[in-house]
Symmetry: C2
Subunit: 292 residues, 2 copies
């Protein structure tokens, strides 16, 4: 059994919504899901699937990650990403990087080619160059074609997967918050906050990053499962639907457990999302209620 889920950000419905825009988002979500799905169907690892899925979302200007990244108050794109392999607890992350086309691939290189987990700023950009990562000029980000660019998207992209060998993985990538102070790091690249995977579940979050740091949200789900013996869905219900709103924390998350159960919950009006399990039809969702 393999399973894959992705998100493209949670938040309010854009005011400029249209049938055509919904179609664009659905196509983009399906396309990115297909990238990871194909790898899992071929027997590749959950780690490969989440990396490739997130890289596809980074390349799409519709999402606040990679090409579609929002800008800081200084007018710069500062990108963050993380990836974690649940079987080994190996993890890699980058924060405040400015030149890599696919931050998630640089995060994976941090995991595989260094003894560190998190590299930030100029040192992370130097690392990206050193390993021959695909570098892009700042105009690559500044020319965002995101159709709702006037709105501050809280969104982020992420993916979680279970592969045929029973291994779990998670990856998350973001352009941060529109107008954020340069140097601000949100939850996405922080292991345990925005991204986490072990042998029981894999989690990727999106939403109010500062609150997801304070609640150590991704690992909080894993801990409710491990120490509280909650089923994954109950753990997520307790955290995302019951607890986070009491803190004023808006957002959502996607998760998969070792049995291939996928949960995608959010306390916002919508969360761009898609999922597929071996032998089943892919599902694409945006609003809370199933779309016709």
């Amino acid at each position: 059994m393999y399973a894959l889920a992705l998100h493209g950000g949670a938040g309010p419905r854009p005011s400029a919504w249209s049938v055509a825009l919904e179609r664009r988002y659905r196509d983009a979500l399906a396309q990115a899901l297909g990238v990871g799905h194909e790898l899992l169907a071929r027997g590749q690892s959950a780690l490969d699937a989440v990396t490739a899925t997130v890289a596809a979302l980074e390349d799409d200007p519709l999402f606040n990650a990679g090409r579609g990244a929002v800008l800081t108050s200084a007018g710069t794109a500062e990108l963050d990403a993380a990836v974690m392999d649940g079987a080994s607890l190996a993890a890699g992350a980058v924060a405040v990087i400015r030149r890599a086309r696919n931050p998630v691939k640089v995060a994976r290189a941090v995991m595989e080619r260094t003894t560190h987990v998190l590299l930030a700023g100029a040192g992370a950009d130097a690392f990206a160059e050193e390993i021959g990562a695909d570098l892009v000029p700042s105009s690559y980000f500044l020319l965002s074609e995101r159709p709702v660019s006037e709105e501050p998207l809280p969104g982020t992209v992420g993916a979680v997967a279970l592969d045929g060998r029973g291994c779990l993985a998670a990856a998350t990538s973001t352009g941060g918050m529109s107008g954020q102070r340069p140097g601000r790091i949100g939850d996405s690249p922080l292991i345990g906050c925005g991204t986490y995977a072990d042998d029981r579940c894999a989690v990727s979050t999106t939403g109010h990053g500062e609150w997801f740091i304070r609640t150590v949200q991704a690992y909080d789900i894993a801990a409710r499962v491990r120490y509280g013996h909650s089923p994954l869905s109950a753990a997520i219900e307790a955290a995302v639907i019951q607890r986070l709103p009491t803190l004023g924390a808006e957002g959502g998350l996607i998760a998969v457990d070792a049995a291939g159960v996928i949960c995608m919950r959010f306390n916002t009006a919508q969360m761009y999302r898609a999922s597929v399990r071996e032998g089943e039809e892919a599902e694409i969702g945006i609003t809370a209620t199933p779309m016709p």
Copy 2:
């Protein structure tokens, strides 16, 4: 009831150990403990106590934080720190900063003066300057007087406290790993990894930072207490003594719970540490067995 504990790093015993050096460390630990103790005795908050205690340790060249910070492979000092208030879950942190004398004070300012939790790199240095933080030239760090500077100290400094109102707080500060790649961020400034506090316990770690990120170590302790209903001491025993060695992760941590119970455990040869509880004598420790 108030309680305060601090650490100054866990690791092997320095090869250049001497009676005179031990005396210096003991005096330094007692002095820093006294700073926070005095605040708690006067009725100030746990947050004030951990900030002041860690700032005192940052000012002492014996420890790998602030003035005594080790250098990166590029010969630069890059400092990280975090602080968290358990009552509100408010948190602030800085990473890869180069100019602040007391990173923990800048971390506290991030918590109190911004909507963010973590600022890194040039943006964090700009923030430190903007708020009028005490800035120092790079020679302040390069002139480290640490007597065992030829050895890569894994250490870090931190403090946890319970104040008279029943509020908990934690703070951690580090110069990172000697010879680390520029831009590397360890567990210390990461909420949930090196530093965490809520209404049940406060935790500060020291040791193998990358593993403490992968295990989300500080929040793992809090989660064992909250979801696993473990007493604090049992949670720490299970994590630090039983689990971490199986991963090859060396280090230790200090913690205090809402009843004022202090736990200081490590799986290394020694951990510089000190603690005091209202109405009791202060205790200073270095090796695993009580010193005469």
